[in-house]
Amino acid sequence: MKNPDAIVIGAGVVGACTALSLVNAGLKVLVLDRGAVASGTTGAGEGNILVSDKEPSPELTLALRSRDAWFELNTDIGGGFELEPKGGVVISRTSTGIANLKKLSNQQAGCGIEVVELDAKGVKEIEPHLSNTVEYAVLYPQDAQCQPMLAAAQIMRAVKRRGGAFIQGENVKSINTKSRKVVGVTTEKKTYGSPIVVNATGTWAGEIAQLAGSYLPIMPRRGFILVTAPAPKIVHHKVYDADYVANVASSDADLQSSAVVEGTESGNILIGASRERVGFKSDLDVAVLRQLARQAISLFPILATIPLLRAYRGFRPYAPDHLPVIGEDANLLGLWHAAGHEGAGIGLAPATGELITAQITGGKTFMDPTAFSPKRFKQESNVAI
């Protein structure tokens, strides 16, 4: 592709959605990835599209728009990624937990989130296999799920159909600038010129920012997911313990884990969620797997007989304030960042694409993007990450 209007680095779900938004806005887009589509964190994602796990905040506003954007995107590109409006059920079994959950859901309701409070009987009606120890839960009908690898792949397919170009297997080695303006990138094979470069490299966004002499404090937060053998329909929604929300917000480096259980179209049940700051340590940690199994069985006792088939891990990209980065670089004109979505990358991807495209093209943004601006980080050039 000669003279792209924009280069997007990263073909995970955020890069793909960004490319699609840009292409739909009429730009000539080139997407570069050092590997295949969804070869980063997207390939290890569960496919969560949640509004339930966010407190009223810019992130919740982003999530609410993004949830609807997923369904619009699904229609736009013709589906093919198992998008399911299955709804989320958040439970709590402690009195403090229940009080906090009530408070949170009331606040969320005030922001346009649908919430349905359920007592023991009510929750048993919609999740018959849930433990009898659950006496209070909140149903969030807007929570949804998709298959993230297929989503990224189908979106990239649409991007290509609409005139975008996608080059896999090329590593960006430098981001080229002139007078503080981006002029393009160079990979190990070629140099590509463009006035706009979007860094959508997720957990590696800090490294890419460094190539331009810029600074993004994005760190990996490891998570494991258990995948069971195909099972009969046991779990009907995404079900999770309310302490999940606290874990996401925690800055603790030690293992944070709370039960998250959901079924899939293919019949396997996915069990999460663990969070640890162990850099990019990739070996299997059996202790974490056991903890996840215990928590899942505590919620759904029948799971004890279901076999674990495989486990995989991914590295969520997070910024110190746990908010994604969506906006123009603090110093360089034309360098944009769309990264750092922690465990909400799938859910927040389409709205991220919309938000950054609006900023790039000078159009109207659906919300104030200031909270996500990369300018919020103390600019320290050449700081090792």
Binding site: A229, P230, A231, P232, G267, T305, P307
Partner: protein, 88 residues
């Protein structure tokens, strides 16, 4: 050579086995070749690798699914059924 015969049921039918035989082997000896139906296409499957590697020979034994017929030794009175999809 002692041959202690055991009896078990498959889909409610009485099947005889020799002690030490696997469920899969005994069913094959009784000309029962279809052990399950797959979960997406509902296709018939039977014994394939015979040594517990392929997981094709899944049957439900005494109410528990995902049992490899080629590995499970027949016990007197066992109730074996075809596995339909992933349902136990």
């Amino acid at each position: 050579m002692s041959q202690s015969n055991l009896e078990f049921t498959f889909e409610g039918q009485k099947i005889t086995a020799i002690s030490g035989q696997s469920v899969g082997a005994a069913l094959l000896a009784a000309n029962q070749r279809i052990l399950r139906k797959t979960r997406f296409n509902e296709n018939e499957r039977g014994l394939f690798c015979g040594i517990g590697v392929c997981f094709d020979c899944l049957v439900v034994v005494d109410g528990v699914g995902n049992q490899r017929a080629c590995l499970i030794e027949v016990k007197s009175g066992m109730r074996v059924q075809r596995q339909v999809g992933s349902d136990a």
